[in-house]
């Protein structure tokens, strides 16, 4: 999970992910959209591939990148779980304080 977050923490990589939200794109499209060099885009795509945020397929000479939905579902679940755990814990804290008041 930390790897996913780290990979997304770089502005160009998040911009790539936002661009791919509308559907898979070729490397050329991504280079045009971001306005950064092709080698840099390739480097970012490699980081995103390594943590399985994007997946690649080859169509002839073109490399097409798309989002790996499972990764985002996992990230979402992780954040929700963390939040729920604390919400429930604070429910118990509240109940505990209510009991303590009653006993005081």
């Amino acid at each position: 999970m930390i790897q996913t977050l780290s990979a997304l923490a770089e502005p160009n990589r998040l911009a790539i992910v936002e661009f791919l939200r509308d559907g898979p794109r070729s490397v050329t499209d991504i280079v045009d959209r971001l306005g950064v060099s092709q080698p840099l885009v390739s480097k970012h795509l490699k980081v995103l591939s390594d943590v399985a945020i994007v997946q690649r397929r080859v169509e002839g000479k073109r490399r097409i990148y798309g989002l790996e939905q499972a990764r985002f579902a996992e990230l979402d679940r992780w954040l929700d779980t963390f939040t729920e755990l604390w919400d429930q814990r604070l429910d118990r804290l509240q109940a505990h304080m209510n009991r303590s008041d009653a006993g005081a």
Partner: protein, 164 residues
């Protein structure tokens, strides 16, 4: 509705939770810093907490185990307090441990609990969790990934929502 507010800051690797509680700042502080109180509420639900050490001062150890109610602890956590301002700030670095209190976690979380009295008998609790190690942050900063970055997590939130 518990009224829990959640914000996420990817630049600082931080999740911030805020919630208002019925109870004085003193009562909330006592609940966080007294072994008997912690054992009564920490949980999780259906689990018991056994506090082995609770030395609430900077550098002090908070060591506890959690396990199914009635059974021995299955999970051990150790925290070292980094900042303690009575009734106001409780900061600690938390990681997985064992029964001896050994530091077994290379990716410990930094947690800060802040308490604010908002009106008579009510307390706003702000809980910040920085969920990667300092080493990890330094590594990321060194790679230039954090430079010039702002507002990332809100965008990420929107992104996640749009993908549901």
């Amino acid at each position: 509705m518990s009224g829990l507010l959640v914000s996420k800051d990817i630049q600082n690797r931080e999740i911030v939770l805020e919630r208002e509680l019925q109870g004085t700042v003193e009562a909330v502080w006592r609940s966080w810093t007294t072994a008997a109180d912690l054992e009564a509420w920490w949980g999780p639900e259906g689990w018991g907490t056994t506090v082995r050490s609770l030395d609430v001062r900077p550098g002090g150890l908070w060591h506890f185990g959690m396990g199914p109610a009635g059974g021995p602890p299955e999970v051990w956590i150790r925290s070292i307090y980094s900042e303690v301002i009575t009734g106001s700030v409780l900061a600690y670095v938390e990681g997985f441990s064992d029964e001896t209190g050994a530091d077994l976690d290379p990716e410990s979380h930094a947690v800060t609990v802040e308490l604010f009295g908002v009106e008579t008998g009510r307390t706003r609790l702000v809980l910040r969790t920085r969920f990667t190690s300092v080493a990890r942050l330094e590594q990321i900063a060194a790679m230039g990934m954090v430079e010039g970055w702002s507002g990332g997590f809100d965008r990420l939130d929107d992104l996640l929502r749009s993908m549901r």
